[in-house]
């Protein structure tokens, strides 16, 4: 198997946490993992992305070739579209519906969602709402991880184990809240 995933959003939204959890689950399954991140200047409120590749075979390039991403997993609708050149013809966009507006010329939200809908297979998630239901707006990224789970070729139970491991140092309450967020995201899935 091979899965190429682009995780996108705005610096500070929690992309690296999502990536770390998927990495961990993949490593525990004995898969090869490569995950390129953005550090430095672009992290300051700019557009950021992570190229995440998991495979049963050796992975060479740290970057996903254009047209070869199976999934764009985005924390923000406009950022989902920014990486479209990487998405394969059969690829799917999984994105939070809530815009992150820190620029004056942010496009019209309705138009944005329409563009996604007519572009490719997609899953739109009310991530902020589900995060609040899970107990904290901070679990927004984990809700999105749950929504993406059916598309990652990793069993949800493996991802839950990785979430437990990742948040373990922060205590049981935080672990349970994030597991709840993951499950809400997962059950939100239309498929």
């Amino acid at each position: 198997m091979q899965k190429n995933i682009i995780i996108s959003g705005v610096g500070g939204q929690g992309i690296l946490t999502m990536a770390a959890i998927i990495d961990l689950a993949a490593m525990n399954l004995g898969l090869h993992v490569k995950q390129a991140e953005v550090h430095g200047m672009s992290q300051r409120g700019g557009a950021v992305e992570s190229h995440l590749r998991i495979s049963s075979e050796e992975i060479y390039s740290d970057l996903i070739p254009q047209g070869k991403a199976d999934v764009i997993l985005s924390l923000e609708p406009m950022e989902a579209l920014r990486y479209l050149p990487f998405l394969s013809p059969e690829g799917v966009i999984i994105t939070a519906k809530e815009p992150y507006k820190n620029i004056p010329n942010y496009p019209d939200e309705t138009e944005l969602l329409k563009t996604i809908e007519k572009t490719t297979a997609h899953v739109l998630v009310e991530a902020a709402l589900l995060a609040r239901q899970a107990g904290s707006p901070k679990t927004y990224n984990i809700v999105m991880l749950g929504a993406a789970a059916p598309y990652l070729d990793i069993a949800p139970t493996e991802l839950e184990q990785a979430i437990t491991h990742y948040f373990f140092p922060k205590g049981e309450a935080v672990v349970n809240m994030n597991l709840q967020a993951f499950r809400l995201g997962l059950s939100n899935n239309p498929n």
Partner: protein
Amino acid sequence: MDNRDKQLLLGAEAVAQAALDAGISGVYAYPGTPSTEITEYIHQSPQAKEAGVRSTWSANEKTAYEAALGMSYAGKRSMVCMKHVGLNVAADAFMNSAITGVHGGLVVVAADDPSMHSSQNEQDSRVYGKFAMIPVMEPSNQQEAYDMVRSAFDLSEEMQLPVLLRIPTRLSHSRSVIRRSEMRPQNPLNPVTDKMGWVLLPAIARKNYQRLIDKQPQLVALSDASVFNTERPGEGDKAVIAFGIAYNYVMEVITTYRLNIPVLKISQYPLPEKKVRQFAERYDLILIAEEGYPVYEEWLKGYFGNDKFRGRLDGALPRTGELSPNALAKALGVETATPRDIPEIVAGRPPMLCDGCGHRDLFEAINRALEIYPHRHVFGDIGCYTLGALPPYNTISTCVDMGAAITMAKGAADAGMRPAVAVIGDSTFTHSGITGLLDAVNDGSPVTFIISDNSTTAMTGGQDSAGTGKYVDICKGIGVNEAHIRTIIPLKKNLEQNIAVLREEFDYEGVSVVISQRECVQTGVKHKKKKAQQQD
């Protein structure tokens, strides 16, 4: 697959872990993307703490390099890390350490930034390696980076030379599963005995330089025998010589499209002469894939241009920027589907200063203060505050190299510019601004230096800044008139008062320093969290 001995590490972290396992006694560095995580990893490592490996930040790359060389003189292994442009700062020490040679193993890590993700240029550190005539290692992936660090220390001690390890952003900031090797102990304290060999008086330097030249054939032979320089067989009359991480992009294309092209992978320099000659003779057309400058393409092509070698110089690969699987696919003649376009509705989202950042209030004050003057030039420097060049502030007029704000403002003042204003961050000031300030004081230059002091090295993630709490004393000590060392707090409520202070100093015909002091909002949040945890 058993995962017990495996770790998921960034390339930078793999280098750090490898150095610890290879028995270093110290790491020296100034933060700089994409090299910062190496030293941070060691700084936070329980293994390093237990082994007493020193790892605090240095004031700049030159002081870091010299300290690492001193540790090597004492017989212990040391590593010094920097971003590519940091090697410019350390170049004096670097070049001359090839002439002194080393005692304990010394590995220099230069993290290059092709495509300039977070840098002013994309200079290729391999050129420095050639310049200094020392071995260079360039890993193609994270595991190789780990393995190479150990080999680099061995090679350094065997050849008594520093070894340069070059890693690009993409390798440094990408995670992969690493398999570790055994830990080995540090070297005992064992200072150099041939002391005169380290005194680079001309007569000795000439002898040492000859010794360095005499080592070259052995370095080439070691490259020819290196396990990191390998050939992957294939068929046909076309072939690829792939250097460092370029090998990954070549292999991505070869495996995806099931090509059978022979590849010579090179990851240790000087160039393995025998291997390259034998390989090149066998094929009619050879693609040279290098991440960075076409250093060896130029060399292999020769002055009169051997057309059999193709690459960045003739457009087979893009002349600038980071390589990619798609660039390599095209160069290898593979037709790939046209990628989808980015829809027009997508707006740019450039990096920006954080909400509540003190630089914001400072820029507003500077802009307002300059309204009554005939021009609005502000010499800038390197850090988050370089973003003040962009809207909405458009305050900063220059960004060249660390410390340049100070000395460029002085030069402009010498030329008659009034007011001559510079903005420099606290960490950049201690990195390379202090000597320039001394120049200005000695000349009595009419300049206003604004130190935007957020008490941290913010852009690289909030590392400790060398001069925190010492700026007034530093400026006084250098000879700035105490009446013209002013401190302001960049907050909205202080705006009018800050404008007044700035104008007073702009009008002063001498050196003045305005310290604009407010903690970085990012480290502020971290400190608050830490405090709350301690109280729990």
